[in-house]
């Protein structure tokens, strides 16, 4: 075989592998849609689940997921913003700064189940919040901290040096520089980080399954020490009841809702990020 023919063959092979990979995403989404759509009767999103999840809707599960992810981001954002700005604006380059950046990566790679174990012990037992949505939110907040930090850091570091110099030349103090120049310019970065953090918190199961959730019987949490039902754990439990076809059908329905939620958040983050890229090209 001549070199040129060989080249063509290889290109076709790796090209088709790439298309298969893209096909994987399409396949996952279409399977979820085909399997999950039949569960969407009239008010699937707005009805209570009945009969141990075999009938009814997923309203309180959806609410539970939304509560957990929103609280987690609200708790995590100030810490992420503060620590990133401290590291980029106040610290001089050095070993300690590199160490902090490394720690972000280690925290990001830490298996999520470990957040569940340690978080339950720390918040649930020592701070006595028990199995509750507060425990879950705090665990998720620590878990998404690196996600937020990475996005924020990217945004802050992408800021052209001349903006900072212009601020300094105008005699801005460091804190007004942050408030007037850096934060407004990094707004889209913050939004991207928040959206990605929400998506990551919404998709997480292992960290909350024995620390924050309950399967059924709970609606809105009445106090700080109540657990909530969530979509993730709802799917987890239904998926293991292979004997009941209705359970599996409901699991697909809940899966489609969860996937839709995560998909929308990721897509929005993507749109905002492209915006950042376009602006930094100017």
């Amino acid at each position: 075989m001549s070199a040129i023919a060989f080249e063509k063959v290889v290109r076709v092979i790796i090209g088709s592998i790439t298309f298969i990979i893209i096909g994987l995403l399409v396949a996952i989404f279409s399977i979820m849609f085909l399997k999950g759509f039949p569960a969407f009767h009239g008010d699937f999103l707005f009805a209570e689940s009945k009969d141990f999840g075999r009938a009814g809707g997923v309203f309180y599960q959806l609410v539970g997921t939304l509560i957990l992810m929103t609280t987690a981001v609200l708790l995590s954002l100030p810490v992420a913003l503060g620590s990133v700005l401290f590291q980029t604006e106040y610290m001089a380059p050095g070993k300690f700064k590199t160490l902090l950046a490394q720690l972000t990566y280690v925290l990001n790679a830490t298996p999520t189940i470990l957040f569940g174990l340690v978080g339950y012990l720390l918040f649930g037992v020592y701070l006595d919040t028990g199995v509750s949505w507060v425990t879950g939110s705090m665990i998720l907040a620590v878990m998404i901290l690196p996600t937020l930090q990475v996005s924020l850091r990217e945004a802050v570091e992408a800021l052209p040096q001349k903006y900072r110099e212009a601020g300094m030349a105008l005699g801005l103090t460091r804190s007004s520089q942050i408030r007037r120049v850096i934060l407004p310019q990094c707004f889209y970065g913050v939004v991207t980080g928040v959206l990605l953090g929400l998506a990551r918190a919404a998709g997480e199961t292992a960290a909350i399954m024995f620390t924050a959730t309950t399967f059924s019987g709970i609606q809105f949490p009445q106090s700080f020490s109540d657990p909530v039902p969530t979509l993730q754990t709802h799917i987890l439990i239904l998926a293991q009841e292979a004997a009941h076809p209705e359970s599996i059908a409901q699991a697909w329905g809940s899966g489609l809702v969860l996937l839709g939620l995560v998909f929308i958040l990721t897509l929005m983050a993507w749109v905002f990020r492209t915006r950042v890229v376009m602006e930094s090209d100017l």
């Binding site: 080249e7 290889v10 290109r11 092979i13 790796i14 090209g15 790439t18 990979i21 994987l24 995403l25 996952i28 810490v79 913003l81 620590s83 700005l85 401290f86 106040y90 610290m91 050095g94 300690f96 700064k97 902090l100 490394q102 720690l103 990566y105 280690v106 790679a109 830490t110 298996p111 999520t112 189940i113 470990l114 957040f115 569940g116 174990l117 340690v118 339950y120 012990l121 620590v142 103090t173 460091r174 804190s175 998506a199 919404a202 998709g203 997480e204 199961t205 292992a206 993730q232 799917i235 987890l236 998926a239 293991q240 599996i248 899966g255 969860l258 995560v262 998909f263 990721t266 993507w270």
Partner: protein, 298 residues
Amino acid sequence: MNFSFGNYLSSDCSAVRNWEPLGWVFAGMNFIFLTCTMGLATFLLVESIPVWRSEGLAFWLGENWWVGETFGALPMICGSFIVTGLAVLLVLPVALSGALFTSEYLTPPLRRRMKGIMEMLAGIPGIIYGLLGVSFLTAGVKDVFNLLDGNTLFTAGCLLAIMILPTVLTLSEDALRSVSSEFREAAEGLGLTKLQTAWRVVLPQSLPGIVGAVLLGIGRAMGETIAVMLVIGSLDRVPGFNIFVSGQTIPSKLGREAAEALGSAEHWSALMGLGFTLFLMVAFITICGNYFKYWSGR
């Protein structure tokens, strides 16, 4: 409250003096972040002290996990390594082909779109992969290999391969892209074809970055809980060389038993020991991966 890292602060003197309340708030936030990270590792170690006391290093070598009698983590450790190794073997050819095609043959707009698709894939929650695995993959493996039970180490490996594909692909692609275009131009100027350039010039140059990408993928695979837990069969035994049997990984064991161990101190401490082992493995692999990535970026 006077931190002694004066040397590490920005050399801009006026700014240091004008630290203002906001600076202290940020320092506090940074401190919280530091506490969270260090606290995690410390907590895992401190809480697992009872099991290290009673089992010693035999904890890692023991084959039996009998609650109330003895705790041995070997089946879980072996299971984790087998499943992760399998996932890497399966994902490597696919991810590298994809990365090579994306970085060398696609135009920049298409490349960005490909990256977006990978990000979407990486964002799909583990529980969705678990649901798909339970419904299709276990049945598929059972039929194809004529097994009695589709919940095997092999099934978990396949599922993990799909889950880490976007991570490995996108990071390898970054590594390939980071090779300066001068090398490509020089190689093409010498009359090498595109494929020869990619194979003989770009790939060797970006090898550390690719190794880093694979290591970061391994880190993700080792820690995945939910999807693995649903398809692995959860059976504690040292699997030997047969990958078509049910097994257990460290995270799946933790996921299965954490809820029932909540009351019992001894059992909980054993799980914490398992968690600490997992943390050490993942942290080591991630730090190595980042080191390789950084090395290739220079």
